[in-house]
Structures are given as C-alpha cells and as structure tokens.
Amino acid sequence: MPKTFISAFQLCVLMFLSLMGTAFLTEVSSAAPTAGHDLWVAPIWGLAGGLLCIFSWISLHNRYPGMSLVQYADRIVGPVVGKLLSLLFLFYVTYATAYMLRQFCDFINISFLMRTPPIALAFCLILLSAIIIRCGVEVLCRLAVFFLPFPFLLCALIFWPLYKDLKPILPLFENGLLPSLQGAFVLQTWYAMFSLITFYLPSVGRNQKIKGWSVTSTVMLCLMLVIVNWHVASFLRHATELYLYPVMVISRYSSFSEFFEHLESIAMMVWVVLVIIRVSYGYYCLATGMGQWFKLPDLKPVVIPMGMLLLIFSFWGMQSSLQVTINRWIVPAFYIACAIVLPLLLLLVDLFRRGIHPNKKATEPSLSKDEAEGAAL
C-alpha cells in the first residue's frame, strides 16, 4: 500500500472540525450543570488540558518518528505491557467514537426522524465513514478542509439573528473559581480527543510545522467553545442547563428578518457533515491501530470488522446515550486517564530509560519484517 502524506494544516483542520460537530451538539449541556453562569470561561481553563495532551503526544512522536502508540508502546514498556496499553487506548477510541455516534443517532431520533430506529441511522453513518476510511487518510483530510467553513456558517446562521437579544453574563465568578474549573474538567471530554493525533502524526509530511498547527487547532476549538457557550448562556440564561440540546433549541428560535424560518434544518445538514467527519476521525484511528496491533500490511482487512465493533459498542448495554451521563465525572476521568496520563507516563518511562536526547541509533532500531509492514500502514 503506497504511503500517503498529509500536511500539518490538513491535520489541524481535521481535528478542529471533528470536535466542533459534537461540541455544538452536547458540549453546552455537559458543562452547564457544573459551570453554571461561568460556562463560557470553562473552555479557557480546559485549554491547558488540551495543550498538555497535544504536547505529550507530539513529544512521544518526536522520540519515535514515524510510529504510532501501538508501535512504540512495545519499545517503551516491553511487548506484553505495551500490547495491553495499546489495547486500552484502542478501547478508549472505540468507546469515545461509539458513544458519540449513539449521542448523535439519539439526537436525530428525538428531534427529526422519530420513526427511524437509531441503529439504522448509525449503520448509514458507519457505512459512509467506512468508504471514506478505505479511500485513505488523505481523502479524509481533504474532506475536512473542504467543509472547513461549515462550523463558522453554523455559528453565523444560529447566533447572528439573536444579537439584539443578547446581554452580558454578570456577575462573573459569582461562586468562585470552582464551578468554571469543574466545567473545564468536564470539557476534557472534547480536548482529550486530540490524543488521536498519535495515529495521524506518522502521515504528516513536514513534521516541523505540526506543533504550531496543533496548538492553533486547540486554541481555535477553545475560541469556538467560548463563543458558543457565551451565546447560549446569554440567550437562555438560567434555563441553559434544562435543555439537552440548547444550540438546537436556539436554532429553532432563530429567523432571518421573518422571512427565513426553520433554520434548524440547515443546522442539521451541517451537523450531519461534521458528525461524519468526527466518526471517520475515530474510525480511522481504530482501524489503523488494530491493523498495527495485528501487524498487518494494510488496514483494509480490519475496516469492516471495526465498523461493526463501533456499531455494537454504540448499542451494547445502553438504552439511551443519556444513561452514561448519570455520573458526570466518570467519562472525563476515563478520557483524561487515556489521553493525558497514559502518554505522560510513557514519556516519563522513556525519559528515564533513554534520557532527554535519545541518540538516533536508538530511535531508529532495525525493524523486523512484521514491524516494517505495520509501520507502512
């Protein structure tokens, strides 16, 4: 399989766009119960977690160029523990993608297609994503670049007509810093998704630009979250935490000069595109990771089984996606453990074993035939 390369900019756009779709959908309702009035400040604190995540994964990649977590975990902590850690990370990727898929299918089922079973919607989304994944990472990134204006369009479409009704949200930090910090903890569910960069970094052509573009992507996400949260909190006020999909509620109120009504249908179209990119973003990581775990020469044999696994995970033991939010700390804690704590531990072990500046001979060990095939994925 010929190795395809993507640019750092394309990866930045892919990460940003894949997170924006779900951020519009459920981010506000996740953070509002804890952050309250300071909802819009929470993403700013949360940015620290996002940057820490990005830097730890990039540092690991710099020490093991051209490899993903599945490949270098074996070298850092040994084959057995390495395989187990890789499997844990792949479980986290599956969990996060399947949960998001279920959330979106439930959302469509509640809001628009009430007679369509959520599994039919999930199957269609997975099928479309599988086609994208089989075309390769380049197609996925180009798709993301093509649809880059969509989140901005969505923002403008929903929030522009409301400007006359918006008022400042005061007082700030009414109950101290704790609510916004708790909100930031919940928002790590989104920032943690930057950890999937580990499977994309080997495909980036010019590695020296990756740090700058990754930071840009994280900061852009933070800014968009601040904008969305501020508008929602300003418009809905204390009612924000009562709604499950507050942005959708606002889009139903919006209208352009009493001529264009029902803007939620356009918002929905944009949402579908963004969610397909988000599913493909996680699906590609899962397929690549599993292919590397089995040391296959190509990711195609695992694309269909992993799609089935995502579909099964999104319905297994879950009557509704709301069920997982019973304890709001569990999901962010799990994501932080896999996206931030895991790479930091690996980095620490590697620093201890090979020092701050590992020599080139150690970073480029002779690959066995199977590993060379895995690295070519």
Binding site: V302, P305, M308, W316, G317
Partner: protein, 72 residues
C-alpha cells in the same frame, strides 16, 4: 431476539464478509479478517439477544467509578 433478527445479522455479516474476502491476498490478512468477523458476528447476536447485557459503559463506570466520588 426474533429469528428474523438473527437472519438479518447473519445475512449482512455474510454479505460484508464476501465483499471484502475477494479483495484480500495476504493469508495473514485473511485469517485476521475472518477471525474478527466471526467475533463481531457473535457479539452482534449476543447484544441483539439481550441489549441490556452489561457492556463497555458499565465496565468503565465500575472501574473509574470506584475511584470517583459522585458529587451530583
């Protein structure tokens, strides 16, 4: 789960299997693909038979929940 559900899952899995199988050349790829498809088919049947069966969400809730005190 009804017999129709079982047939539906089996037919879709078999269709996807045949679609991919023809394109695989490497024996290792074929073996991994076949094994994964069998596992996924079995999982799909089990989950369709009893959707309330504890799954990945309950696993995470049990493992992580043991470390976290709910302050809702």
């Amino acid at each position: 789960m009804s017999i129709t559900g079982l047939i539906y899952i089996s037919v879709v899995t078999a269709g996807l299997f045949l679609l991919q199988w023809k394109q695989l050349r490497d024996p290792k790829s074929k073996a991994v693909f076949a094994a994964l498809m069998v596992v996924m088919w079995a999982l799909a049947v089990v989950v369709a038979y009893d959707p309330t069966l504890p799954g990945p969400y309950q696993l995470v809730e049990t493992v992580i929940g043991a470390w976290i005190r709910d302050s809702n």
